[in-house]
């Protein structure tokens, strides 16, 4: 085939990038999707998104990553984009204490607008600017632990941990979704009409499976 058709994927996961203005969300996005970094990239107005297809446990997963304006003023607009998101990467800038302190506000924002089962990860970005650091890695870990988030320090400039951060989120989403798919499969099997070659699982466990929110 001359062209690989873009829609050849098993799953489509929507992930939102959130965090204060200027912490590097757009560059994290461009690093992950296009392997690009631009020191003078413009501020994000409204919402943009980009996609990248990756392999997760042998499945083709298309990650659709939404980049939102960071300024609080635009919350009314940007929060509308949380709908349908199954993952979120909450970014702060390790050189700007304020952006780390605002993590709590972002978590509240997510609780208010996003699905409660959204897979969340926190990233302390600009780790290349260690000499300007105002948030220690320990502080990051402490908050992450307290809030039950995965955590990594990243650098979009040096391409440190960007791949890893998204892989972690995508893996986690995939596990939830595949578990859910399995449950749905079992439920469907048990509900289907007998005599068509399907095995009815009498001891169906799907009712006990923790159902995830995620939908593709």
């Amino acid at each position: 085939m001359a062209h690989r058709v873009d829609h050849e994927y098993d799953y489509l996961f929507k992930i939102v990038l959130i965090g204060d203005s200027g912490v590097g969300k757009s560059n994290i996005l461009s690093r992950f999707t296009r392997n690009e970094f631009c020191l003078e990239s413009k501020s994000t107005i409204g919402v943009e998104f980009a996609t990248r297809t990756v392999q997760v446990e042998g499945k083709t997963v298309k990650a659709q990553i939404w980049d939102t304006a960071g300024q609080e003023r635009y919350r009314a607009i940007t929060s509308a984009y949380y709908r349908g998101a199954v993952g979120a990467l909450l970014v702060y800038d390790i050189t700007k204490r304020q952006t780390f302190d605002n993590v709590q506000r972002w978590l509240r924002e997510l609780r208010d607008h996003a699905d409660s089962n959204i897979v969340l990860m926190m990233a302390g970005n600009k780790s290349d600017l260690n000499h300007l650091r105002s948030v220690s890695e320990e502080d990051g870990h402490a908050v992450a632990e307290k809030e039950g988030l995965s955590f990594l320090e990243t650098s979009a400039l040096e391409a440190t941990n960007i791949e890893k951060a998204f892989q972690t989120i995508l893996n986690e989403i995939y596990h939830i979704v595949s578990k859910k798919a399995l449950a749905a499969q079992e439920a469907a099997a048990s509900a289907s009409i007998p005599g068509q070659g399907t095995t009815i699982n009498v001891g169906d466990e799907s009712g006990n499976t923790k159902t995830a929110c995620c939908s593709t």
């Binding site: 829609h7 200027g22 501020s43 409204g46 635009y74």
Partner: protein, 561 residues
């Protein structure tokens, strides 16, 4: 006949037509009035040489048209169940080729026939239209279509109908099937780089696109005036009296509307267009204003400059604002040499003006996007104080876009939705079906007045045209519609969902021809006329805010968000 803007060739599907009313006055020309099911009636379509009966007979071949029991001159168009079958059988074609091309569009524009006639304004369409006819001929050769040939025979019977009506009707007969494809061609050639295939789309090209009721290319030929070269120094002098007053501000604004101004004149002209200097001011008065305003600027600037580090430590709000401005200044138009390089003094000017503005308008403060709006102004003014006051004048109009409740943006997005409904009902319905009526896809277009979509010089050109407020204060909304209509074939043909649509719109950035778009926008604005103005709530930016502070009510609020 009150408003010539109402007169336009507009295709309307018969499904939207409730009735046709015939008028045969004892004196004067016969005319018909087409009444839509929405209750809206088009202006009279005059038949200067007779032909109303033939017209109705031809219509009758396509839809069921019965004389109303109550009024002998009213012909309701039936609300039939299966229009495709009816249409096919009533056409009695060997094989209705053109209709089979658009299978899921039973009542396509192919049979619609609602035209209006203007006494004066139709001149362009009638006589100055070799290109239109060539276009038809070309299209016709491209696809040999028996249905069209029959349509032609039917049209021959119209020889008594005015030339205008014939032209318009033939357009309606011919345009539908090729319409969609021409859009595809246009879209794909312009945007080959854009990946818009987000979902399985094996059958992309099979999807029918409802015909555009106001097709841009033809509309612009009829309405849009050719763009002119920018206003130059010599011509500018002709607008001024010996002391530097603008003699005829309306004529000046109109001139700039059609061509913009040469860059070296921008500083002088922008100050007036923005309202920082007045049209009536003499050279001396302008100079006086400049010096007064400079002092005033320095006073406001000094308010933040005099904040000591100790004070700043205890002034969170100030620190936050300064921080935000600093973050944005270093990423505003750095690719332009005026703002490029390290330690560029122009960056400090940007910073100073923005921070001063956030003190001048402390309630609004600084919002992302403002640096984009200021950048071309500073580029043109090359002076802090002058830039500041021009920016102040601009923000008088655009400030509500940055309000916390975003009411300025909401009212514009709401107006945009209403205008699309008026000017392209099929596209409106498509957005409705895809849950895109909030028009968030156009958020950046409106907030930054297309600054991120155009090259720098094109942005300046567009802005000065918009600031003339010639034709409408809200031409930018018609610019939005012109763009949406330009790509409607691609949008609907590829069945773009909200996400793909947003991506598509964002990636139009850098692919917009502003002259063509302005001409389209002008045509749309003229076409919409008063109906268009009625779609825009009073006080919608860039109109100056209403005195009572009312912008729009909760009902509108619900519709938009």
């Amino acid at each position: 006949m009150q408003d010539k803007n109402l007169y336009t060739i507009r295709a309307v599907p018969f499904t939207d037509v409730r009735s046709i009313r015939r008028h045969t006055p004892a004196f004067g020309w016969q005319y018909i009035i087409v009444v839509l099911s929405s209750g809206l009636a088009f202006p009279p379509l005059y038949f200067y040489n007779g032909g109303v009966r033939e017209f109705l007979a031809t219509v009758k071949q396509h839809v069921v048209l019965l004389r109303s029991a109550e009024h002998a001159n009213v012909f309701p168009v039936n609300d039939f169940q299966n229009p495709l079958q009816r249409t096919l059988s009533s056409l009695e074609l060997p094989r209705a080729v053109s209709l089979s091309i658009v299978p899921s569009m039973p009542v396509s524009g192919g049979e619609s026939a609602s035209q209006e006639n203007g006494e004066r304004t139709d001149v362009d369409v009638l006589d100055g239209s070799p290109s239109i006819r060539q276009f038809y001929r070309r299209e016709r050769q491209k696809v040999h279509d028996p249905a069209r040939d029959i349509s032609m025979q039917v049209l021959e019977k119209f020889s008594l109908v005015t030339k205008f009506a014939r032209e318009a009707t033939s357009q309606l007969f011919w345009e539908t099937p090729t319409n969609a494809f021409s859009h595809f061609e246009r879209g794909s050639s312009n945007l080959s780089a854009i990946d818009s295939s987000q979902k399985p789309r094996d059958d992309v090209l099979e999807l029918p696109v409802p015909p555009d009721p106001l097709e841009l290319d033809k509309l612009s030929l009829a309405w849009g005036k050719p763009r002119q070269p920018p206003l130059g120094l010599e011509e500018w002098a002709t607008f001024l009296d010996s002391e530097g007053r603008v003699v005829d501000s309306k004529a000046l604004r109109k001139r700039i509307f059609y061509g913009g101004v040469e860059h070296k004149l921008r500083k002088e002209v922008w100050e007036i267009l923005l309202g920082y200097q007045s049209y009536e001011s003499t050279y001396a008065e302008k100079e006086y204003q400049r010096s007064n305003k400079k002092t005033e600027y320095e006073i406001i600037k000094n308010q933040w400059q005099s904040i000591s580090p100790e004070q700043e430590k205890r002034f969170t709000k100030f620190r936050e604002r300064k921080d935000l401005i600093e973050k944005d200044v270093v990423r505003t138009d750095r690719s332009i040499s005026f703002y490029g390089g390290d330690g560029n003094a122009n960056l400090s000017f940007l910073h100073n003006v923005l921070l001063t503005y956030s003190f001048y308008n402390f309630d609004l403060g600084y919002c992302q996007g403002m640096s984009d709006l200021l950048s071309p102004i500073l580029f043109v003014m090359e002076d802090e104080s002058e830039s500041f006051w021009c920016f102040v004048a601009l923000m008088e109009r655009l400030g509500p876009n940055f309000n916390r409740d975003q009411n300025g943006m909401h009212s514009q997005l709401f107006a945009l939705s209403k205008l699309v409904e008026l000017l392209d009902a099929p596209l409106h319905n498509y957005f409705k079906q895809k849950d895109c009526l909030n028009y968030f896809i156009c958020f950046r277009w409106i907030l930054l007045q297309f600054k991120r979509e155009l090259e720098y010089d094109q942005t300046m050109r567009l802005w000065e045209v918009l600031w003339t407020h010639h034709l409408s204060e809200h031409l930018h909304l018609y610019v939005c519609i012109a763009l949406l209509k330009r790509y409607r074939g691609k949008i609907i043909g590829e069945q773009m969902e909200f996400d793909t649509l947003l991506k598509f719109i964002n990636e139009l950035s850098g692919h917009i021809d502003i002259d063509v778009t302005l001409r389209d926008a002008e045509a749309l604005c003229l076409c919409a006329g008063e109906n268009g103005s009625a779609c825009i709530p009073p006080g919608t930016p860039p109109s100056l805010p209403r005195e009572d502070g009312f912008l729009f009510n909760s009902e509108l609020d619900d519709t938009v968000l």
